[in-house]
């Protein structure tokens, strides 16, 4: 489904990604872990098409098409979804309007008619239940004044409504209380299908107890320096990153 090959990217003239290669197949869950500042969010933003990041080399193929050639909205219309580490506030645009606009544009891109507003309401109330969010949140401006946890949950609500083929969750677990973590994880698992895939960026094994990954990757200094099964996450939790960094020939303690 997704094939990243030797991807390099820079921001503000500084190279951050130093040759990332990663293949994700339909039905899989991949976890990406790694020290602060190692480039995890950069990778996520590059995949979503953030204009501040310049791709300097490599390729990304998504369902056979050149992902890097697509505008961000086209990527989304093709089924790529990024749950932001820091969701953006949009005062003045209600969650309900925002979700319906996104939903309809994705339908339009697929050559489908706009959704009937009543049908959409049904869909919304169903998805709200999945992430146990209050209906009142729909009439509030997108993320404006939301608590940290509410913003993260709102990302998963969007994901639940838009039903992406590839979801990239960038630290969706950080800032969530214990119950919210369970709810969000349950939501992500419920949306799992043999035809879609998920990349979970996280610092904590805790989330991976709920969303069990097929593959775990360690990203450091802009490269994937180690990959393994779900047991790798447990080992990282117990031992930290130093040993992996050493194995990779990277100076330990240098978290960048």
């Amino acid at each position: 489904m997704l094939k990243i090959d030797n991807l390099t990217a820079s921001v503000g003239g500084t190279q951050i990604l130093n040759g990332i290669s990663l293949t994700v197949n339909a039905g899989e869950v991949h976890a990406i872990m790694g020290p602060n500042g190692s480039g995890k969010s950069t990778l996520a933003q590059v995949l979503a098409g953030h204009p501040a990041y310049e791709v300097t080399g490599g390729t990304v193929t998504f369902q056979g098409a050149d992902l890097l050639d697509m505008d961000p909205e086209v990527r989304a219309q093709h089924g790529v979804f990024l749950a932001f580490q820091y969701p953006i506030e949009i005062p003045g645009v209600t969650n309900a309007y925002f979700l319906r606009a996104a939903y309809n544009e994705i339908r339009k891109a697929k050559g489908l008619d706009e959704v009937d507003p009543m049908d959409f309401l049904d869909l919304m109330s169903d998805r709200l239940k999945l992430v146990e969010m209050d209906e009142a949140m729909l009439q509030r401006s997108v993320n404006a004044g939301f608590s940290g946890g509410e913003k993260k949950r709102n990302e998963i609500l969007q994901m639940a409504v838009l039903d992406p083929t590839l979801a990239i969750l960038d630290e969706t677990d950080s800032g969530l209380d214990i119950d919210a973590l369970r709810i969000v994880a349950h939501g992500v698992n419920a949306l799992k299908k043999p035809t879609n895939a998920t990349i979970v960026v996280t610092h904590y094994q805790r989330l991976l107890n709920h969303i069990v990954p097929d593959h775990v990757h360690v990203l450091a200094a802009g490269r994937i320096i180690k990959s393994g099964g779900k047991e790798l996450a447990l080992e990282l939790e117990a031992r930290g990153y130093d040993w992996v960094l050493e194995e990779a020939g990277l100076a330990t303690g240098a978290h960048a």
Partner: protein, 449 residues
Amino acid sequence: MSTTLAPDLAPQADVARQLGPDWLLPVREAALAEFSRIGWPTTRNEDWHYTNPSAIAEGKFVLAAPDERATGERRTPTGTAAHGVTVAHLAPYTFGQDWPLMVFVNGRFAPMLSRLGALQAGVRVTPLAEAMREDRDFLEARLGTVARFDEHAFTALNTAFMTEGAVIHVAKNVEVAEPLHLVFIADEQAEGTISHPRVIIAAEPNAKVTVIESWGAVGTPRHVSNVVTEVDVASGATVTHLKMQRESAAAFHVGTVQVNQAKDSHFVQFTFQSGAQLMRSNIYTHLNGPGCGSTLNGLVLADGTQHLDTQTRIEHVAPRCYSRELYKGVLDGEGHGVFNGKVYVHPEAQQTDGKQENHTILLSDRAQIDTKPQLEIFADDVKCTHGATVGRLDQAAEFYMKSRGISAEHARRLLVYAFAADVLETIENEVVRTGLEALVLERFAGVVV
């Protein structure tokens, strides 16, 4: 009858003198004399520093024919028409409502397009031409008492040449249930003309009324509208004035709203400015009685080479009055916005509570805003604040929307809408508010990054 309005006013003076009625002649003469004294404003005039009206002064605009039947209003097989304007042409301006309606086509009252049948008791809505003929006492006592023309060239011109407009009088304690709607439409027959409509709104003590002024066009005539709206708000009364200026892209619009407020009265205004190649809006309120207040809000949308200038001057004369101003602007292309907000607090106006805000977003590098708050405070116990910001669309928000599949164009329209949302929310009339929200969403539909 047509005469060019050149800087030299002598030939026009004769025209003005023939406009009648006789009792108004001394007022017209005085206005002409004042205009001759001060002349057309130039950018050397501090109040006109950013706006050059020479295109109006030198445009050889001809006085819109002061002939009663000038619009040739008639019944046609498909309905009523005045000049080329039909009921269908009014639809974009009437919000689908059947509120009391006065229509002016190319500056002239069009009775057959209007709807003044069933007015509530205590409300009078009269065409100015009729009031001049038949209601001298009322008019003589009112006309020009609020809208003073000294130092105001365009008001002086309006006073010298006004023949058409509306007189709205609401009796004591009467709350007018429906808004009174004045629609001014120009079509190609307005090409090359200047009109001077005058609107008089008088609300007696404790009366409550909403007056809507809508300005629009069929086609893109190049003409001048020089309107003066004078509002007298008696003690305890509330006048809401909603002005939607969507004139032709080739038009010049000079609108002066002058307001006198008595004790405990409220004046609530919203101005929506999106039309005209050059627009100058003068909003002057005098807070003359203790405990009264003005709320002046507005939204300006400009693109192309539009030049839209909003000037407000609030005179806090009496103590314990409030003033609230929130003006927002969205400027694209080579659009140029001007905002100059003056607040004068007289020595007696203790406990004045004033707040002024002006916020602009520029959608292009060539768009421009000149914003200037001017507070002059001569009392010591006052609370006056002002703030102005100029920014661009939030790129993080734009990317966030796109990352959800929303197209670049839709994202930008939504962000413009979001920017304007809070000022539009101040419009109490839900029909007007919803109508304007839709206009804002449509306006920048063609914008690309």
